[in-house]
Amino acid sequence: MFISFFLELRAAKVPASLREFLTLLEAMQKRVAAFDIDEFYYLARTTLVKDERFLDRFDRVFGRCFNGIETPEDPRKELPEEWLKSLAERFLTPEEKAQIQALGGWEALMETLRRRLAEQKGRHAGGGKWIGTAGTSPFGNSGYNPEGIRIGGKGGNRSAVKVWDRREYRNLDDTLELGTRNIKIALRRLRQFAREGAELELDLPQTIRSTAHNAGWLDLHLVPERHNAVKLLLFLDVGGSMEDHVRVCEELFSAARGEFKHLVHFYFHNCLYDSVWKDSRRRHVEQIPTLEILRTYDPAHKVVLVGDASMSPYEIDREGGSVERWNDESGETWMRRLLDFYPKAVWLNPVPEKYWGGTASIGMMRAIMEDRMFPLTLEGIDRAMRALTR
């Protein structure tokens, strides 16, 4: 029974090892938890799960193995009626309940939601009917309808009734292939050590030489500590089609921050134009001219651009093609200007490599980058870092 439980966990991609399973058996033998299903559950959890991201998956497997509780693959397909009702009673004020009548009452709201979920095939953003992001339909997230039902994601206007996190650890789950640690190890390839800055370390050979020279009187010599001297400019695409990838980019960014002494980041939208910004919330107020970047940071800096390069081709090769505001010079001109100044540059693309052929703008951007575009996977980052150090 326990073995099948263990195998089920492995099948559900909870990374439990044989060693941990043996630990669990050892703990059972020592009667840490005996004859009590709750205690056994806690014990198995503390032994087999080592990251809160997997707690939810563990709960589902445990329920399936020991209680015969059904665990629906995707709760979005089926809405447990009572559960939603109880939520409503707990969280809605009478006024809010009255507001729900705006869509013909709670049942009607749920019914419409179910129907639309069934009708809808893919992801959707904007618009007024489908479930997706940034729309005015009451379903989906980041929307404006006062009695919206938020489905996954982060709420933009904070007006959604309640997220559906039925399982408590769900928001900690994370199926990203790239972990911060992985990225970090890949980024290590970029390290180039150099001695710079304050004197910190004892220079042993020089101290010995100098002490001998002084006929045995100690003469300490210090040298600056070695540290990573790679200077990096990071350009991150935010907004629009990149919303899907923001999470991956944030991981990359957090990994990058720890790894370099000189790291400056900028945000852009779709393609690089005459200005970028550093703080997304103040993007319309505090724009930094791209030329100023070229003036400020010398060509020894390496440039990493992260973006999906998925846009209208006009945004790259026409003046005034930018979706944000009028640009006097085309995105291509600005990209070439940047690349001429910083010869060491790569583009990381979160879109899987096999789909690159399907989007014209990716091909164009790749040509501009002289083929130095790499997928945002571990292997891709590795190749990109190699290209940067070459």
Binding site: K30, V32, A33, Y42, T46, K50, E52, R158
Partner: protein, 282 residues
């Protein structure tokens, strides 16, 4: 076999108790994660107090090296003593300074060893401690001597999730994620810290507290330790339950909110929401 069941000043939920007791019984380290302020570090103190053991704490900083937990060889003092012709210089043992792990291994009765905020250190730090924590022994190169733990200490490690820990390290630990306490547990926690507090005050304070935690988009949600601080302040200022209960439009945010909301963006956000809410009521 000693068992940990919480103390007079610490409410341990059943899952936490099982995790701690498993770590004690199997003599493996316990890794504790959770939101800041949910009592990760305090846990080690309370386990030590509950079992009547000595507590050795090792606080990790970004510059901490794994070897510093074992021992340090003070070569500079030895060199200086050598130049001054000090007798001590003949014995290298005079310059070996035991670290926290050594202290814990040499103790006559197994202590509780707290390795606090392991994620602050370099990414390879946990890997460098694998063997030491697994076998509870290490070799002192300068003395040609192996230090073996007389009794295996109870090791509690806390992490704030700033860095991911390597798999090989995780395999050797028990893991517990301290979830934010439910309202019932929270009432018990408040009761433990402020026994005899008026029930209405606790009730009103908790209502406000959970309301604030429900506000979406807060940069830092208030946690248990902040709630306890706030209640302490309410008591000192002698705020009555009635004051907390009033939904006076002029007093949008709760009294002494500084203990709960820790940055001005959050205070602004809260004021704005409270303002909208008030307008909605009219």
């Amino acid at each position: 076999m000693p068992r940990f069941e919480g103390t007079a000043t610490y409410v341990a939920t059943q899952d936490l108790q099982v995790a701690v007791n498993a770590a004690i019984a199997l003599e493996r380290p316990l890794l504790v994660k959770g939101e800041p302020g949910t009592g990760k570090t305090i846990l080690a103190h309370e386990v030590a107090a509950g079992l009547g053991k000595r507590l050795i704490t090792w606080h990790i900083k970004s510059t901490t090296k794994a070897i510093q937990g074992l021992y340090e060889y003070d070569a500079v003092s030895r060199l200086r003593d050598g130049q001054l012709g000090d007798e001590r210089v003949r014995d290298i043992a005079n310059y070996i300074k035991p670290g926290k792990l050594w202290d814990a291994f040499e103790a006559d009765e197994a202590p509780v060893l707290l390795i606090d905020e392991i994620d602050k250190a370099d990414i390879e730090f946990p890997n460098d401690l694998l063997l030491e924590l697994d076998r509870m022994e290490f070799f002192v190169y300068e003395l040609r001597k192996t230090i073996v733990a007389k009794q295996r200490p109870i090791v509690i490690i806390t992490s704030n999730n700033e860095k991911e820990l390597p798999d090989a390290f995780l395999r050797r630990c028990f893991f517990h994620y301290i979830r934010f306490p439910e309202r019932d547990t929270m009432e018990r926690i408040v009761d433990v810290h402020f026994p005899g507090l008026k029930r209405e005050l606790v009730h009103e304070a908790l209502t406000i507290f959970y309301d604030i935690r429900q506000v979406p988009g807060l940069k830092k949600k208030p946690s248990t330790s902040e709630l306890l601080d706030w209640i302490k302040l309410l008591l000192v200022e002698d705020v009555t339950p009635e004051v907390l209960r009033t939904r006076d439009p002029n007093k949008l945010i709760p009294p002494l909110h500084g203990a709960l909301l820790k940055n001005e963006q959050d205070v602004h956000l809260f004021e704005r929401l409270a303002f909208l809410h008030r307008r909605g009521e009219r």
